[in-house]
């Protein structure tokens, strides 16, 4: 029993020591560390790393536009996790519909989780999880060289001499995040993601399980909550 407890303690310690806190890093440090340069696959996705990669990619984009990067808010993170679980089975094709769903309660919910600001808003989008780029693709179940069995181009005819087709590759965490941010910029009509009024952010990403089916391009759903203070511009008297 004693040995078991000892082993358990060591295991717990190890689990704590190996846990990354990506949000303590700046976006430069995060991307420079190379942690986001590896590919993620369906079977091997680190959700924490994915969330952090998008968070830092947003900050990189803000920095390029001359805005201060978002500060990570654990309170908003809690909220965004809860919200995602509520819309787990819904499609994010219309991000506005998701936003409207939570519009009334978002401020109250953020407060309940300890967020002090009173400006809170939400972005929702759905992004392709592989580097497909709207090219023609086909599904080949028999080819087991890739997890997804998805390949660029037309399915080869039996008469084709070259039966090999290029498999659609997975994104790296970084490239996926950059792609998602570009999409976010397009969809965010109110410029929440680039607004100076918001100082805090948290986001959560999850595979869209409905898209993981045969010939569909796998998608990842993303919820981002941004927060700020109404009284931010008032100078201290």
């Amino acid at each position: 029993m004693g040995t078991f407890c000892f082993v358990l303690t060591i295991a717990l310690c190890l689990s704590f020591t190996t846990e990354h806190n990506y949000y303590e890093q700046s976006f430069e440090e995060f991307f420079a560390s190379g942690v986001a340069d590896k590919e993620f696959t369906l079977a091997d996705t680190d959700p924490e790393l994915l969330n952090a990669a998008v968070f830092h990619a947003v900050n990189e984009m803000r920095s390029q536009k001359g805005k201060l990067p978002f500060q990570y808010s654990p309170e908003l993170q809690k909220l965004v996790n809860v919200y995602l679980s509520k819309v787990e089975n819904k499609s994010f094709i219309s991000g506005e519909a998701i936003r409207k769903k939570f519009a009334k309660s978002i401020l109250k919910d953020a407060k309940e989780r300890g967020f002090k600001g009173t400006l809170v808003d939400l972005n929702a989008l759905q992004s392709q999880a592989i580097s497909y780029n709207n090219k023609i693709f086909f599904y080949n179940k028999k080819d087991i060289s890739t997890d997804l069995h998805l390949f660029y181009g037309e399915r080869p005819a039996k008469t084709d001499k070259n039966q090999e087709r290029e498999a659609i590759p997975f994104y790296t965490y970084k490239t996926f995040a950059e792609n998602a941010v570009a999409q976010l910029l397009k969809l965010d009509e109110e410029n929440k993601v680039t607004s100076k009024a918001y100082k805090f952010s948290a986001c959560v990403l999850q595979w869209d399980y409905n898209s993981l089916y045969k010939s569909r391009i796998p998608q990842i759903k993303m919820l981002q909550i941004v927060g700020g203070f109404q009284t931010d511009l008032i100078k201290e008297n």
Partner: protein
């Protein structure tokens, strides 16, 4: 009779001989029936203390004008002078540290009180209902005697006292009830509640963690055991004074006062000591005017207390052969001086003629402001209204409406609905009920929309609480009173626009507030000018009252 009058007159002349007083630092002119001080008294520049106690015919305005010219006057005693009012020139006594105006029928302390830097103040046995708001400026005050006044039980007065950072001694003798706000006086070390008629003291006394001594002697209605339970948590308490003619036993629970070192028991007829008494670690015990039914046993019990060093007996009925114990006993027969000589006659006369008291022609300043807050619990919205300061005639205005003149800076937020953003509305509302002087708390709780708050306001402030992204609407009543967290309910959607709205509104608000404060300063000056004219009427009226006083005395 004529002989006595002449004797007093010659005494007064002798005491006021210029050659004698020219270089004096202290002057005792008490009970000399002086009506006018000689004008040369103003040239006694070394004078530090002057005692004018008992000079009931003294001309008030004239006396204060002359004394105000003394640059080093630190102690002024004017007890039992039937003053009836204090002139505004009191504010010119800049060096004054000790002021005693006990038993003068004074109902109001003038606004100029705020200019003093008093350390000790005795206003006992007057008719003061509400202390002036300027009182909170007495930052150096450490001893205050407010005994036997009408406003003893007012929360407001306690709130004001709580603003004084150095106040360590508070004398509230003759209390009929005590505000629970006394718990806010966190620096208090000595509390004198002698001769109170309360049965139970407010539990808030247990919050006075710095209290070192407490005096409840002569409080014959007090449940002493319950009182000891109340003060038991006070770990700093070293001295306790209890006892009255009805007291026959030392309460058994006195042993709970573990830090007690000095116990004084007054006028008790004591039997045996409780067994638990030995658990005390007393160093001194005093018995004043006490009798003992079994003195030998009583003192031999005391003899067994190892920590006890001295036993004082003053005016106690104990035979010498009953005191054969090892402990040192100090046995004296000096009568204790009465703490207060009451001057109820003048107070009664002043009180009964209240209706005839001269009223200021120009009602420029009223210290009381009535604020009404209406709550709508369901919508979490507050509606504010107030009865403004500085003589404006409008009543119960919408605090953020367009008619507010007293606080014009609030117009900036005209028409804005403030949404409550505090953690819990109910505790905040309860706080308001507690501060209310008029509202029936139980009724107020039941209604959805009620007028709930009546108070004296020093100021109404709005300031951002940036860490919580809200505003605090602060209604000062003494120290740290009512703060409501609220945020304007805006219909704007764009975050940038919202932030800009707040910025511009608040900047505008600040500018208006500075203007208003400047205007109030001007109004204060104008008020003082009007008050000085009013003083002449008060002086005439006081002469009439004094005649009534002497008439009643002769009878």
């Amino acid at each position: 009779m004529i002989f006595i009058f002449c004797a007093v007159l010659s005494q007064a002349q002798d005491a006021l001989d210029y050659a004698k007083i020219r270089d004096a630092q202290e002057l005792d002119l008490s009970n000399l029936d002086i009506d006018t001080l000689p004008s040369y008294i103003s040239s006694c520049s070394r004078l530090k203390r002057i005692n004018l106690n008992g000079n009931r015919k003294l001309k008030v305005i004239d006396t204060f004008k002359k004394l105000a010219k003394l640059p080093h006057l630190e102690v002024l005693q004017l007890d039992y002078c039937n003053l009836f009012f204090l002139p505004a020139s009191i504010g010119e006594f800049r060096a004054l540290k000790v002021l005693s105006i006990e038993g003068n029928g004074i109902a109001y302390l003038p606004l100029t009180f705020r200019d003093l830097s008093l350390q000790e103040l005795n206003v006992a046995s007057n008719r003061i209902d509400s202390l002036n708001i300027g009182f909170s400026s007495l930052r150096h005050l450490h001893t205050f005697n407010f005994s036997n006044n009408e406003g003893l039980s007012r929360d407001y007065n306690m709130d004001l006292l709580a603003t004084l950072p150095l106040l360590h001694t508070l004398i509230l003798q003759e209390s009929k009830s005590l505000s629970s706000s006394i718990g806010k006086l966190r620096a208090l070390e000595n509390l004198d509640l002698a001769r109170s008629t309360m049965k139970i003291l407010p539990s808030a006394i247990s919050q006075l963690l710095t209290l070192k001594s407490i005096d409840v002697r002569g409080s014959s209605d007090l449940d002493v055991s319950a009182f000891i339970e109340t003060i038991a948590p006070l770990k700093q308490l070293r001295a306790l004074r209890i006892g009255d003619a009805k007291m026959t036993i030392v309460p058994f629970n006195v042993s709970k006062l573990k830090s007690l070192r000095d116990l004084r028991i007054y006028r008790a007829a004591l039997g045996r000591l409780p067994v638990s008494f030995k658990e005390l670690t007393l160093q001194n015990i005093h018995f004043v005017n006490c009798s003992f039914s079994a003195a030998s046993d009583f003192f031999s019990e005391l003899d067994k207390m190892t920590s006890l060093q001295l036993i004082y007996l003053e005016e106690c009925a104990v035979a010498a052969d009953q005191l054969h114990i090892k402990k040192q006993i100090v046995n004296t027969n000096v009568l204790e001086q009465s703490a207060l000589v009451f001057n109820t006659n003048f107070n009664e006369i002043a009180k009964n003629h209240r209706g005839e008291t001269p009223v200021m022609d120009y009602d420029l300043l009223t210290s009381k402001v009535t604020l009404t807050i209406k709550k709508q619990v369901t919508k979490k919205r507050f509606y504010f209204a107030l009865e403004p300061q500085y003589g404006y005639t409008e009543k119960y205005l919408d605090l953020f409406g367009d008619k507010i003149k007293a606080y014009p800076e609030l117009k900036v937020y005209k028409g804005i609905q403030w949404e409550y953003t505090g953690d819990e509305m109910d505790p905040d509302l309860l706080k308001m009920y507690a501060l209310s002087e008029k509202t029936d708390k139980e009724k107020a709780k039941k209604k959805s929309t009620v007028e709930i708050y009546v108070l004296n306001l020093q100021d109404i402030l709005i300031y951002p609480e940036k860490e919580e992204d809200t505003y605090v609407l602060a209604f000062s009543r003494g120290f740290d009173t009512l703060k409501i967290k609220a945020l304007p309910a805006l219909s704007l959607l764009d975050a940038k626009k919202i932030q800009k709205w707040h910025k511009s509104k608040y900047e505008n608000y600040l500018q208006q507030r500075i203007k208003r404060e400047e205007k109030w300063l001007q109004l204060d000056t104008k008020y003082l000018m009007v008050y000085e004219k009013h003083e002449i009427k008060l002086e005439d009226y006081r002469t009439q009252l004094n005649e009534l006083y002497y008439h009643a005395k002769e009878k």
